[in-house]
């Protein structure tokens, strides 16, 4: 059996006294798209932030259990920066850096030591194309990224996450500010990207998980209700009754 790309074992997480993830275990296989669905506050974002250790930006958290990426315990990794380059993250609220559009995308490659203009140009164009943003901004790459519209900024965040060629791409509700047509274009890109990377897709649109994910996980109140092949989770008789209710919008 191949080593799982990501292996989570008995993960618990609390913010201060409040435990929000209650000991969950699952794994993700290489080049898989795993969909994560679940109502608000169920811990989806927190889970992603544990994987690339951006959870460390929040003080007062406590985490137990292990997360392995390529078999390596992330908490033991000396070079957290390398981990974060390996595990790209697209946050639900776009975080524009105060840089030009070009520099936003070139930021990570430059940090990694890419200096030649031609190489940077190539990366910037490729990533902006993959994020379905290139056509809209190709004539004003020098203007500030923070001046783009909300949806454009979100796509810029996607382009930025792709710019350091992550092996694992975490998308946290990437489409909340993006129109349906553009969302479809990005979804097509994700299907392509699956060949190169592993994708974790957190989404509020259950149908999006259904369209893209090989397997889907239903997270509820910090616990995994069900994880399995998408076809099964979305079938008329999933393992757990609550899954059926949530997927079909009957959930209270």
């Amino acid at each position: 059996m191949v080593t799982p790309k990501v292996q989570v074992e008995n993960l618990r997480l609390s913010y201060g006294p409040k435990e929000v993830i209650h000991g969950i275990s699952f794994h993700i296989e290489p080049n898989e798209i795993l969909g994560i669905i679940g109502p608000a506050q169920s811990g989806k974002t927190s889970l992603l932030r544990c994987i690339n250790r951006t959870i460390e930006f929040t003080t007062n958290t406590r985490q137990t259990g292990t997360i392995r990426v390529d078999g390596e315990d992330v908490s033991q990794m000396r070079d957290v920066y390398a981990l974060r380059r390996k595990v790209g993250m697209v946050a639900p609220l776009p975080v524009g850096l105060p840089l030009s559009i070009y520099d936003n995308v070139a930021f990570a490659p430059r940090n990694a030591g890419v200096r030649q203009r031609a190489a940077l140009d190539e990366i910037v164009e490729r990533c902006l194309r993959q994020a379905a943003l290139w056509d809209e901004v190709k004539d004003r790459l020098d203007s500030l990224g923070t001046k783009l519209s909300g949806g454009q900024q979100q796509r810029l965040t996607i382009a930025r996450a792709l710019s350091h060629s992550p092996q694992i791409l975490c998308l946290d509700e990437f489409s909340i500010a993006i129109d349906p047509v553009t969302t479809m274009r990005i979804e097509d890109v994700l299907k392509e990207l699956k060949k190169e990377m592993t994708i974790i897709l957190v989404t509020n649109l259950v149908q999006q998980a259904r369209r893209l994910a090989a397997r889907t996980m239903f997270l509820w109140n910090g616990e995994i209700v069900e994880i399995g092949p998408t076809s099964e989770v979305f079938s008329d008789n999933p393992k757990d009754r609550r899954t059926y209710d949530y997927v079909n919008g009957i959930f209270g």
Partner: protein
Amino acid sequence: MISSRSKLSLYGEKAIEWLIRICGVSAIIFVFAIFFFLFREGAPILREPGFNLWRFLTSTEWYPTSMSNVRYGTFALIAGTLSVTGVAMLIAVPFGLGAAVFVSEFCTGKLRESLKVIIELLAAIPSIVWGFIGLTVMNPLIQTVFHVQVGLNVLNAALLLALMSIPVMVSIGEDALKAVPDSYREGALALGATRWQVIYRILLPAAKNGLLAAVLLGVGRAVGETMAVLMATGHAVNVPHSIFDSVRTLTATIAAELGEASQGSPHYRVLFLIGILLFTLTFIVNLVADLVVRGINRK
């Protein structure tokens, strides 16, 4: 009842508005009043027959009380002020901004709070005390460390000025860095940037206006400082050739000589002209900085 109350509050609001307006206008009036005063006292010398503005600015001969041949050349004094301020800034800017980055980005909790208190204490030391330190501590120290004859020189005064302006730079610079939203830091760190990369690629550019203001306040403090430099420069009219030469600054000259110059005399007027010169100098520094900031912003 209700209407009379709301009427009252309307008047109150008007009154406050006027009060604020008066405060704002008065600031402008004060600046002009100061300039007018300097000009009224200093300008008459320009029409005096023996006075030559070009000589005033370029001659190194400052003999304001000579009986036989009075000469008012301020070049050496300008050189003194610029050299002391320049060296002070070479020391203070890297240390001040570095400390600001350290306090803002690398310190948390107790360490941060205590550092800030210490820095504020440093800012509260009166300049005459710095002068004492220059005279009694730095002077012998510079003599023994660098094997020079006199320890009262450019280096001594510049070190003092650096120590005096660093606290201002640190607190203003730290405010500027703290004003950069955390989302920038986290966004950049999430892309795998190291802390150092976040600082020089994101934070410093984002905070550049505030940091420049910090540096400017430091420069202002250094140019205007009088007492400490009077005691630490050696107070010798001299165009310095190295940091171990004694100099005299514009401010110290005014402080030392204004008391003895009889009001209305040419000497008295020339000292006021030096005041105008100082005013112009700081104005130019501010203007240049302003243009630089605009240039950066347009880019």
